[in-house]
């Protein structure tokens, strides 16, 4: 490792430091950085509270492009002075971010009878919510655009100003209102903002200093990063049979860097509803005291944060069976062809209900396995979404034994409220990466939530300006309700960046899946393979992946026309050369 050239130490000192710390483990290095920061603090030189360049957001919301122009002008003038201001359309801004924002500029127009523009609607309704969080940390300024021939001139700007103040935010400069001729007052406002910024927050003329910020690999399952949940949005339509969530988590400050194809590890807490069910089925009191790693805690707490209480595994079944010797369980454990369906059908709660057993609290805890983290394919590329990491999570619910069942992780994420924190860490997947050569064509097959990494893929290919073609096969139940990220795919198709084929199983009489569409487009598919395309498959491992594999082999056989064996060899060769990659689960 070498230090940044502008580091405030001499080359000699740098050399010494590198020699000293170079052989240390990452944990040791981290510890040392904190130690050194502590030394400095003790000498009265605390590291600055804010980052060297003051960061802020310039939000714009207007039906015309005027607001955007003003916002971008402020952002770029700010940059010239060393402030890091980002101009963002209100429609693209997660309201939950406000809680962490320190500097906010609002450029907003008014419509109709004092209504906010469409793009501002979500932000406004969040800000208008009287139960929203306090924003004492926030300094802000508002530029209101309007038309004085309307009764409610600049009303939306006034409303924003009033609500921000009511939440405890402090105005940096007074609100300025502009009529149709907005340019002059807008420029005056900008100058005033910049002057005040210079006075109150002298921009960092000094070079960046060493800060005690750990590198991304520093976050692990044991020591996750608390990511702010900025968005939790259902992305299936109102008549969908499914509830799929689009989550946006801020990794701001973590320095976690990921590549398209990587997953995010998520430490979940079991939902209270499932914990209650387990307690009831086991006939135990949640307040019962148990020992966990030499510490005393309540059973409820242990079941919530430390134990797997839905997924059933062989070791759990073995330990449970050891307590009862019930013939069903012994039989399931004895025959591996029985075991898999048994484990699939039963959650922990079903085991407790179907085979009642008077376990004490500690025994129950010891029978169950430690709560494992979950990994979700990342659905965004940092080059497109900054430090915001997107996940696509399907809420798992089903009927079994006459009762509603839910998945612990998907329920806890689907129910998580924006504004809260979720412990995460990076779970890299180096085996599922885009081709190094951007000219290589890419075929992506990702039905259901399997489509998530491909959103990151195409974002990256777009950011790269990659010359290779992209082709997505997506499938789900209904186009109208279940076409995950439809507007993104359509935008890329319109831009000529994406070939798009879909299969919706319930939109016609016969069930139609991605493998059927692959067969229909077999000739083109084979042409792509012949021109060097790489094939990626993501999603369900039990049925989809084998079906797709078979469809691939068959289309090669048909269009290569050299028999089954040659086709199988062709597909094998794709695998060997890293042009057929799968992330299935």
């Amino acid at each position: 490792m070498s230090l940044p050239v502008q580091a405030p130490v001499s080359p000699e000192s740098q050399h010494e430091l590198t020699a000293l710390a170079g052989g240390w483990s990452a944990d040791q290095q981290l510890w040392a950085s904190g130690f050194l920061a502590g030394m400095a603090a003790a000498r009265g030189h605390a590291a600055p509270a804010s980052a060297p360049a003051l960061k802020g957001t310039v939000l714009f919301g207007s039906q015309s492009g005027n607001g955007q122009g003003v916002a971008e002008a402020l952002a770029s003038a700010g940059a010239d002075l060393g402030f890091e201001l980002r101009a963002v359309n209100m429609a693209d801004y997660a309201p939950a971010r406000l809680a962490r924002e320190e500097l906010l500029f609002v450029v907003v127009s008014t419509h109709g009878e004092g209504d906010p523009p469409d793009d501002a609607a979500d932000l406004w309704s969040s800000l208008a919510d009287p139960t929203g969080p306090r924003l004492e940390q926030l300094r802000y300024a508002v530029l209101a655009l309007g038309d004085s021939s309307y009764a409610h001139y600049c009303q939306t700007g006034r409303d924003f100003d009033e609500r921000l103040a009511a939440r405890g935010a402090q105005a940096l400069v007074p609100r300025v209102e502009c009529d149709l001729e907005y340019q002059e007052p807008a420029e005056a406002w900008r100058s005033q903002v910049l002057e005040t910024l210079k006075e109150e927050f002298a921009p960092a003329a000094a070079p960046p200093r060493l800060r005690a910020v750990p590198a991304s690999e520093a976050y692990t399952s044991a020591r996750p990063f608390p990511a702010l949940l900025e968005v939790n949005q259902k992305i299936t339509g109102r008549d969908s049979s499914k509830d799929v969530r689009h989550l946006e988590l801020s990794l701001d400050g973590s320095q976690i860097e990921w590549e398209p194809g990587d997953s995010l590890g998520v430490k979940i807490a079991n939902p209270a509803s499932i914990v209650d069910e387990v307690l009831e089925a086991a006939d135990l009191d949640g307040d019962a005291v148990v020992r966990l790693a030499d510490e005393e805690t309540s059973l409820r707490q242990a079941l919530t944060g430390e134990r797997e209480i839905t997924r059933l595994t062989r070791p759990v079944l073995e330990r449970f069976s050891g307590q009862t010797d019930h013939p069903d369980l012994t039989a399931a454990l004895a025959d591996s062809s029985e075991l898999a369906p048994f484990l699939f059908r039963h959650q922990v709660v079903d085991l407790l209900r179907e085979y009642p057993l008077a376990l004490d609290a500690q025994t129950l805890l010891d029978v169950l396995s430690p709560l494992a983290h979950r990994a979700y394919s990342i659905a965004s590329d940092a080059q497109a979404t900054g430090s915001s990491v997107h996940l696509t999570v399907a809420r798992l619910t089903y009927e079994q034994f006459g009762r509603a069942h839910a998945g612990a992780a998907s329920t806890s994420l689907a129910d998580a409220a924006a504004g809260g924190e979720i412990p995460v860490f990076l779970d890299p997947n180096p085996r599922f990466r885009l081709p190094e050569d951007p000219a290589t064509p890419v075929i992506m097959i990702g039905p259901g939530t399997g489509v998530a990494p491909f959103r990151a893929f195409v974002q990256r290919r777009e950011a790269q300006g990659a010359s290779g073609k992209n082709w997505l096969f997506f499938g789900d139940r209904q186009r109208h309700n279940d076409f995950l990220y439809q507007v993104d795919w359509l935008r890329w198709r319109k831009a000529g960046l994406l070939e798009l084929d879909v299969a919706f199983s319930r939109d016609q009489e016969d069930k139609r899946y991605v493998q059927h569409v692959m067969a229909e487009r077999g000739a083109e598919f084979y042409d792509w393979l012949e021109s060097g395309a790489a094939v990626y498959v993501c999603g369900d491992a039990s049925r989809m992946a084998p079906d797709v594999d078979q469809a691939l082999t068959q289309l090669v056989q048909k269009h290569q026309a050299r028999g089954a064996e040659a086709a199988a060899e062709y597909v094998q060769q794709l695998k060997r050369s890293g042009r057929y990659k799968r992330d299935v689960y």
Binding site: G112, E113, D115, D122, I235, R238, R479, Q486, L490, F504
Partner: protein, 565 residues
């Protein structure tokens, strides 16, 4: 006639479309979207189809990263509003199996289906054609559904006028084979060239074109709001000719003074045998001289306003080879439809059925859709759609009347309606219309409840007043020709227009640029109180407002923007 200005984008699309084909067939089979290609959304109109989306859930779908909930409105042309019971049953079935379970009668005597998704579009259009109706030219820059008075005291006059409506509709129908190719699997044009469009040419008209025929004294097609109006002159029960009115039209934009509604002006009198030539000449003159660069200045009313009515009369006379005689004297007495049973001079009975805002569906209180289906199953006459969004059950023998009465009663149809409600109209508006700025059809019924209370308070219980509401200033329900016009501005806010007349011969004037319900009711309360105490004899509300100086009369449409008070 050459115009150096840039042509509007729709002109580009029409030119490149090969007589309205565009890429509609590809759009229909594109299964990644419920929409059709953007350019095709202009062309589909010529086929009677508008792409729309459910605006109630537009924001929700945006957050869900799903495209808008697209569906299509299909308009079936019904020349003169005449349709057989078999056709009615076919429309009823399509509404239930392919659309949103309702039928909508339009202000132009047509049927509308709403909520048809893309995959059902072709089957719906095919079903309409199987019933011997069609959707071609129901929208778009062409002559649209030809309207005609559906009822007259003299049965022969009604039949004669209906026949002319058919002849003119047929004559002005586009000749493109695109319609049969795309919707009916008709034979395909083998060459790249398109077939000839003898009247329209390759780029059709600069803008929509509307025509109607009326039988005085009932102005139930709002004849002066039409681009072309033929006013039947009946002598001794026989049609002797028409007064020709041109250049009416409703659409404008809020506060844009260059846009305004107009009532038609008379070219003169012609004999029936001249009707086809004159109508074609009006259409081709507009085709050649209408503004193709600015679609907000493209209707015939602007062409005539820019060049003068005398120039236009001479050009049409030259093209048609006719000489206009001075117009005959005509009197109109009302625009609304009668309700209940009416006997014509041949002893046939007709039942006038009020359909609020033209929406035919089943509710708990009134099963209009089921009721009219039951009527259609036994009815041996015909149905006649009206320009007021109502329907006549026409040609009923005297002994069949009780049968019809029983069916209607059993379905809760035919209860009391105030004079205000009977003379009211609303366009569709939210949630399907892409242009709506405020509610219309979903809101007017409850607004009338509130106004009716005021009417009762002032002893005006059954006073007929023409009240019309639209969700936007384009004016589908002809709001500028109403005594009270309400035109959507933004959520819950309307521009209020007052002082039109009852018979449809005077436009109204802007009274308030934007009012919400409370303020509106306050204004109407005050004006209706003045009206109740100050009217002279049978004086109508609109006339009273003008006589008493509340609003100055609008003499030319361009004055409409000048606020009255």
């Amino acid at each position: 006639m050459s115009d150096e200005r840039k042509l509007s984008d729709v002109e580009r699309i029409k030119t490149a479309s090969r007589n309205l084909r565009g890429t509609l067939e590809e759009s229909l089979t594109d299964d990644v979207t419920g929409a059709i290609a953007e350019d095709d959304t202009q062309l589909s109109k010529f086929h009677g189809i508008y792409q729309q989306d459910d605006r109630d859930i537009r924001a929700e779908r945006r957050r869900q990263k799903l495209e808008p909930a697209y569906s299509f409105m299909i308009r079936a042309r019904v020349p003169g509003g005449l349709c057989t019971p078999a056709q009615w049953l076919a429309m009823d079935r399509l509404a239930r199996t392919h659309a949103n379970g309702t039928l909508r009668l339009t202000t132009r005597q047509a049927f509308q289906f709403h909520g048809v998704i893309k995959s059902r579009l072709k089957a719906t259009v095919a079903g309409i054609n199987e019933a011997l109706l069609d959707t071609l030219a129901a929208c778009g820059d062409v002559n649209r559904n030809v309207m005609a008075s559906p009822i007259a005291a003299q049965a022969t006059a009604q039949r004669e006028v209906a026949r002319w409506a058919d002849v003119l509709s047929e004559h002005l129908t586009p000749q493109t084979g695109a319609y049969h190719e795309i919707w009916l699997d008709g034979a395909r044009l083998e060459t790249d060239a398109a077939e000839a469009e003898p009247i329209y040419g390759a780029t059709y008209l600069p803008r929509k074109f509307k025509m109607a025929l009326v039988i005085p004294p009932i102005n139930d097609v709002d004849i002066y709001t039409q681009d072309l109006g033929l006013i039947a002159i009946i002598e001794d029960g026989q049609l002797v000719g028409f007064n020709v009115s041109v250049g009416g039209g409703m659409g404008m934009a809020h506060g844009v003074r260059e846009t305004y509604p107009m009532l038609g002006q008379l070219l003169g009198f012609i004999t029936p045998d001249q009707a086809v030539a004159v109508s074609e000449a009006v259409v081709t003159t507009q085709r050649d001289f209408g503004d193709r660069s600015n679609r907000k200045h493209a209707r015939l009313k602007y062409t005539i306003d820019d060049r003068g009515i005398d120039w236009f009369r001479a050009e049409v006379a030259r093209r048609a080879g006719v000489t206009f005689a001075p117009p005959r004297s005509v009197t109109f007495t009302q625009r609304g439809d009668a309700r209940g049973w009416l006997e014509d001079d041949e002893g046939h009975w007709h039942y006038g059925l009020f359909v609020e805002n033209g929406r035919i569906g089943d509710t708990e209180h009134q099963q209009l859709l089921s009721g009219l289906r039951a009527v259609a199953e036994v009815h041996r006459g015909e149905f006649r759609l009206t320009g007021n969004q109502n329907v006549w059950i026409a040609g009923v023998a005297a002994d069949q009347r009780p049968v019809i009465d029983d069916i209607l009663k059993a379905h809760g149809i035919g209860t009391g309606v105030s004079g205000l409600r009977l003379n009211s109209m609303a366009c569709v508006g939210f949630p399907t219309c892409g242009l709506a700025m405020a509610e219309s059809e979903r809101y007017l019924p409850e607004l009338i409840d509130a106004i009716d209370e005021i009417m009762i308070r002032h002893g005006l219980d059954d006073e007929p007043i023409v009240l019309r509401m639209t969700g936007c200033p384009n004016g589908c329900a002809r709001p500028y020709a109403a005594e009270i016009g309400l035109v959507g501005k933004s959520d819950n806010h309307y521009a209020l227009f007052l002082g039109g007349d009852f018979e449809g011969q005077r436009l109204n004037r802007l009274y308030r640029a934007s009012v919400a319900e409370a303020e509106l009711l306050e204004i109407l309360d005050q004006l209706l109180r003045q009206f109740a105490s100050g009217r002279m004899g049978d004086e109508r509300f609109g006339d009273f407002l003008v006589r008493s100086g509340v609003v100055a009369p609008v003499l030319h449409g361009s004055e409409i923007h000048e606020e009255a008070a």
